[in-house]
Every structure is written in C-alpha cells, then in structure tokens.
Amino acid sequence: MFQPIANPTTKPVAPKFGDKDLIRRSASNITPAAQRQPEVAKLIDVSKCIGCKACQVACLEWNNLVEEVGINVGVYDNPHDLTPNTWTLMRYSEYQNPESGNLEWLIRKDGCMHCEDPGCLKACPAPGAIVQYSNGIVDFVHDNCIGCGYCVKGCPFNIPRISKVDNKAYKCSLCVDRVAVGQGPACQKACPTQAIVFGTKDEMKKWADFRIKDLKSRGFKNAGLYDPPGVSGTHVMYVLQHADKPQIYANLANNPSISPVVEIWKGVTKYAGLAAMGAFVAIGFLHHIIAGPNRVSAEDEKNAEKLTEGKA
C-alpha cells in the first residue's frame, strides 16, 4: 500500500506556491520561476480501478459542481463525455484479449493530463487565462478567460470544455487549491482502492515501477507507464496493463503531441503575419516618398472637356 497523505490540521495553512511560481502564462512574456518546486503527479493505476466513480463524485463535491441528470444509453459512462462540470470521467471499455481470450474491463479515469508542454496554454490568446506552476500543474484562470475555445484546439487530449452558461473554459485543476496546502486531489482522497495516488513525480514513477513489476509477474507482459514524451511528459500518468496499445483504453492518444497545425498557427503565422502587414504599410510609405502622388494634370481635364464637348 502506498503511504496515504495525512489528513490536514484544523489550523489554516499558508499556500506553498502561488503566482511567483509560474513557469508559463498564456499570451504573456514572463520570467519563469528561478527554482522549480518538486514536480507533482497523479498516478492512475487502471489495473486497480473498480469503476466506482467515487473520484467523479469527489470532484463534483470539492469543486462545487453540479452535473445535469442525463439519460442512460446503455453504457456505464455517465455523463457520456466530459462537460464544463464534469472534469473527470470514468470511461469503460470492454476488451477481448486475443492472447488469453479473456474479456477485460478497462476503466480509465479521463481528465486533464497536466502536460509539461501544454497545448492549451500555447493556443490561448488571453493573457493569464492559462498558467502553469513550477510543480507542473496547468490551471485555467477563469477571470481572464474569454471563451474563444482556442484551448480546445490546442489540447492533444480533447479535455477543455466551454460552458454555455458563462462562456468560459473548464477542466481539472489537479485540485490546485488542495495541493497548495499539502493535500492530494479530491479524487485521490476518495479512491477506495488506491487506483489513484498522488505525490511528487519521482515518487509516482517509483511506485509505478513497483506496480508494473507486479502486473508483469501476473502475465501482463506489456504493462507500463503512460507518461507521453510527445508533450514532454504529463503530471497525470497512467499505469496500463497494455501500455503498447493505449488506444484500447477508450481511445487514449497513442504518442500524443501538440498538432503541427497548432504549432504553425501559433508559431510562424503569428510573426510572419504581423511582418507581412507591416511590410505592406512600409512599401506604401516608401512608394509614396519615391514616386510621389499621382495627380490629374490640367491637360487631363482639358482632354476630358474636349471629349465631352466634341461628342455631346
């Protein structure tokens, strides 16, 4: 068993990190915090998940969210997708293992992966609407959010959702408010099987190694850690029984990265675009200085008079 995080004291605790610990701020030039706090991570061990949805409930509770009553369409997923209120969602997949012939029930807790290289933050046009703390947490600052949906296009995991009520983007905050005072996220606290554990990223990798060895000893020879390098690693990681086939876990992205289209849009287009407009203005100025205005001469007016009089 992983050593659980102790319950908090009843006395107020000062936050351990804040604005001075930012390493990235959307649409802003900031000096990243000189010293990084130890990187944190949430480890989701799919092999231990029993699909009880306690994490989903805890997330709603802690973040004071209410989900609409939905309809059952014959699957366990409830609601059917992430929403502005459902920041984490159990996704259930039935997988027939071709080697063992066993039917495996793969239950993946979906939600923000807190990428080290966050596509949402890269895409965001609103200064300070998305921030990344030095411990790796990527958070949306709703006061600065303009609801454009660019984060949706930037995200390689299809996570942010725009509220139709206040037109702002929502996703898992990794319970940044709890982590700041030394607690783990609400979902982790509620998990009855320790399928969700929380700590520093190093601790989590070590724990994951232990779990992967255990799974391999039980015949899951492709068991492994999902910490995709395409986004420079994530601060939410999975232990997967079949790490060679992430797509069988409700289409978990296989080797995700920020889309090249987004990179072009937010990279060369931004600078080349401004340069092109500036160049057109500059060429206009230069041309006017060199060529001078194109004026109608008195002769032109006379010719026009001749033409009209001659024919009128």
């Binding site: 660019y150 296009k153 407009m277 033409l307």
Partner: protein
C-alpha cells in the same frame, strides 16, 4: 441605349469646366462604407486575438469576452454587406484583354508612366485583383469562421477540422488586411479618387487619366 459591360447604374458624365463624372450612387457608397466599417472592426477585434501584443485592442470592444462574442457577428454583417457590393460591381470587374497588358506593365503603373498603359474601363487590373481577392478571402473567412464559431456551431465539426479552420482563418485574415492596405494606399496615392466614394463624383480629368475607356463609353453612350 447600349451600355458597355463596365458602365454601372448611375454612371454619368456632366459636361462643364471641369467635367464631372458620377462614379458611385448613394446606395453604393453607403454599402461601401458599411463594409469598410465592418472590415476595420473585424481587423481590430481579430488582431486582438491574433497576437498577444495586440490583446489590448479588446479594450475597444469592452473586454475579451465581448470581443470574442461580437467579432463573428460583425463578420456576418460584412458578409451580407459585401455581397451587396459584389452584386453591384462583379460585372465591371470581369477580366479583359487590356488587363493582362496593364498587369504586364505594372512597373509603368507604379512609376506613373500612364501614357504607356492601355486605356482601361471603370476598373483597372489592380482594382480587379483587389475586388476578386476580397471576394475569395471573404468567402474563405466566413466559412472558416463558422467552423470556429464555437458558441453556436462547435458540434458541427471535429477538433482537427477546427484546427485547420483556425489556421486558414488567420492566414486569410492576414491576406485580406494586406489587400486592404493596397486598396487604401491606392486610393490615397491616386489623387482625386477618394471623392468617388464620398461625394460619388470624380473629375473628367481623373476619368481621362485613369479610366479613359470608361469615359469614352460614357460620352459615347450619352450620344446614343
């Protein structure tokens, strides 16, 4: 009375000293300035979301949320307004043989050697390029704009489609702003032009110098 392809409704010569020529009707001018206002507002609100250094432009529209909300609606107004201009002007902007010659002698255009240029109708090749570029870019912008208008249309496209649309939208916007700069500069550089879109009139000399074929057609048409 037979009218040439490029003589638009309301175009008329008034003999005198100087000769004046009616170039744009009141309706066409109002139509033009509604489109112009929309285009400028779209450029300002769009640029605010295009580059972080221009985000302060959202202040002109209230705040970021308002800018995001109003930009697509201005786009819809511009689309219909420009459609009005398109219906008015498309025929006179059809490509003619002399336009190729004019384009080939662009150097003479820019250096003011107008005597070396062919006589052109109501629009020269440069104006026609601006007209058709605007038309194509506005269609590109409205289509890509709908794909990324998430407030109402988010469920009609996939995220990969939206990514392409947002890139296309940005590139088309840069292009149309550049075309707009050419359009405005040409109107300033060629003196006597702006009056066409304010009072609706140009002088006979302006028409003789820049659109002689059109002037001849107007004078000839009058006789017939």
């Amino acid at each position: 009375m037979t009218t040439a392809y490029d003589v638009e409704r309301g175009d008329q010569v008034h003999p005198g000293n100087p000769v004046t020529v009616d170039r744009y009707t009141t309706g066409a001018r109002i139509n033009h300035w509604i489109t112009a206002t929309c285009l400028i507002l779209l450029a300002l609100s769009g640029l605010a979301l295009f580059h972080p250094s221009l985000f302060f432009l959202t202040g002109l529209f209230g705040d970021g949320q308002n800018t995001r909300a109003i930009h697509p609606w201005i786009g819809v107004v511009l689309f219909f307004s420009f459609a009005g201009l398109f219906i008015r002007f498309w025929k006179a902007n059809l490509w003619r043989r002399e336009d190729g010659t004019w384009m080939a002698r662009l150097h003479d255009v820019l250096t003011g050697n107008e005597e070396k240029l062919p006589e052109v109708g109501k629009y020269n090749a440069g104006q026609k390029v601006v007209f058709w570029s605007m038309s194509i870019l506005i269609i590109t912008l409205i289509v890509s704009g709908f794909v990324i208008w998430d407030q109402y249309f988010s469920e009609y496209s996939t995220i990969p489609q939206k990514r392409v649309a947002v890139l296309v939208h940005a590139l088309a916007a840069v292009a149309i702003i550049c075309v707009w700069i050419v359009h405005v500069y040409a109107a300033i550089w060629v003196r006597g032009t702006i009056g066409a879109m304010t009072r609706g009139k140009v002088t006979g000399g302006w028409a003789w110098r820049h659109h002689r074929k059109w002037l001849r057609e107007l004078v000839g048409g009058k006789k017939a």
